[in-house]
Amino acid sequence: GVLERSREQLLRQTCEAVVLGALHPRTAITLVLQVLSDAGSLLSCCLNAACMALLDGGLPLATLFCGVTCALQPDGSVLLDPTARQEQEARAILTFAIGSSERKVLMATTKGSCSVEEMQQCLAAAQGAADTIFQFYRDSVRRRYCKS
């Protein structure tokens, strides 16, 4: 459907910005994501899974990236990683893809409406949360390489 297409496009743009495609000319890189269960924050979950898959596959990457979803509640407070129910009650849902070098924003998408200040606030919260996700990547990779 249209929603899946839009998610595919967002993921594709983020991956294209990060993968060093110049090292593999005339080659198609296919990323397949299968949703096993959706409990909210699906797009940022897909972004994190995509990054780990590219990392595991050995594709050359310029930076790592992660996805963070923020929900703006009706009273103006920011909630990170909302569940499906919290997403429905929220005024706006913002998803950011954040890169690991200098926490640059690679992709941003919004559902609902919010003011510029609120978006900046969500972005700052998301950049802080990205640190936790990147630390998780590092710990997972460390665990994998220490086994051998």
């Binding site: 060093l20 090292l23 593999h24 000319p25 005339r26 080659t27 990392l55 595991d56 596959g57 050995g58 594709l59 050359p60 990457l61 310029a62 930076t63 790592l64 890169g99 690991s100 070098s101 200098e102 990547y137 590092r138 990779v141 460390r142 994998r144 390489y145 051998s148």
Partner: protein
């Protein structure tokens, strides 16, 4: 734009690095460093150029990591840094010895599947003692052990079964029977290391023939089919077993 502060490369040797990490090189690797030309101390910087191996790219003042893995360093001959990563998909590299499967014969050239994104080509004259009259007997579906003559991202890879002096040195068509299977590239590198324990322990179990291709393919042949399959299972499991588990498994097998 604030520059990302990198960490010294030598501090991270032997540790896990992730894509996006910037590694700073010590100052004596700078080529145009002023006042560094007259180096009187013998035990100073290694002479020669620094080699930037797989998983790393030159970027400004340092090296950018592009694959996740363990950072390795070899100080000999100018120094080399590279990232030891585990992956299953092979990318052809010049000089690598690989096992290819013949998929087509197109005139004077064979097309081989080597596990990369493109099939490799192998000329019928690239065998020892091959002439226009004396063609090698290669059929579709045969296994060939050869090395890459040309392998870069812009051209179709080319293989040969002779080395630079025209001798075959172990390369060529792999014989009948035997079993071909695929493992990860990291296991192949481990098996190819000098004095590999796994191969020594296995050779005490049964005698067998073994061909290791850098593209992750292994060909095994032992006296009976059952022995061949046992060796195949042990090699596949070696990836995830520790040394003690492997010794236990082999002791159980040789006890039977």
């Amino acid at each position: 734009m604030a520059a990302e502060s990198g960490t010294a490369a030598e501090a991270l040797v032997g540790q896990v690095v992730l894509p996006g990490d910037l590694l700073l090189l010590p100052a004596h690797y700078d080529e145009d460093a002023e006042g560094e030309r007259l180096r009187l101390s013998a035990g100073g910087a290694p002479q020669g150029r620094l080699l930037c191996g797989p998983g790393l790219r030159r970027c400004g003042a340092g090296l950018l990591v592009t694959k996740c893995g363990l950072l390795r360093h070899r100080p000999a001959g100018g120094g080399a840094f590279w990232v030891d990563s585990q992956q299953k998909r092979y990318v052809p590299v010049k000089g690598d010895h690989v096992i290819g499967i013949v998929t087509a014969k197109a005139g004077d050239v064979f097309r081989l599947d080597v596990g990369g994104s493109e099939p490799a080509s192998l000329s019928y004259l690239a065998f020892e003692g091959a002439t226009k009259r004396n063609r090698p007997n290669v059929q579709v579906g045969d296994l060939i052990y050869g090395q890459f003559l040309v392998a870069n991202k812009d051209m179709e890879p080319e293989m040969v079964c002779i080395d630079s002096s025209g001798k075959s040195s172990g390369m060529g068509i792999i014989g009948q029977d035997g079993f071909l299977f695929k493992v990860s590239l990291g296991l192949i590198r481990k098996l190819l290391a000098p004095k590999c324990e796994i191969i020594q322990e296995l050779s005490q179990l049964y005698p067998f023939e073994l061909v290791l291709g850098m593209n992750g393919r292994i060909w095994v042949k032992a006296k009976t089919v059952q022995q061949t399959l046992i060796i195949v299972n042990i090699l596949e499991a070696c990836e995830y077993m520790s040394a003690e588990q492997r010794k236990q498994a082999l002791a159980k097998l040789s006890g039977n």
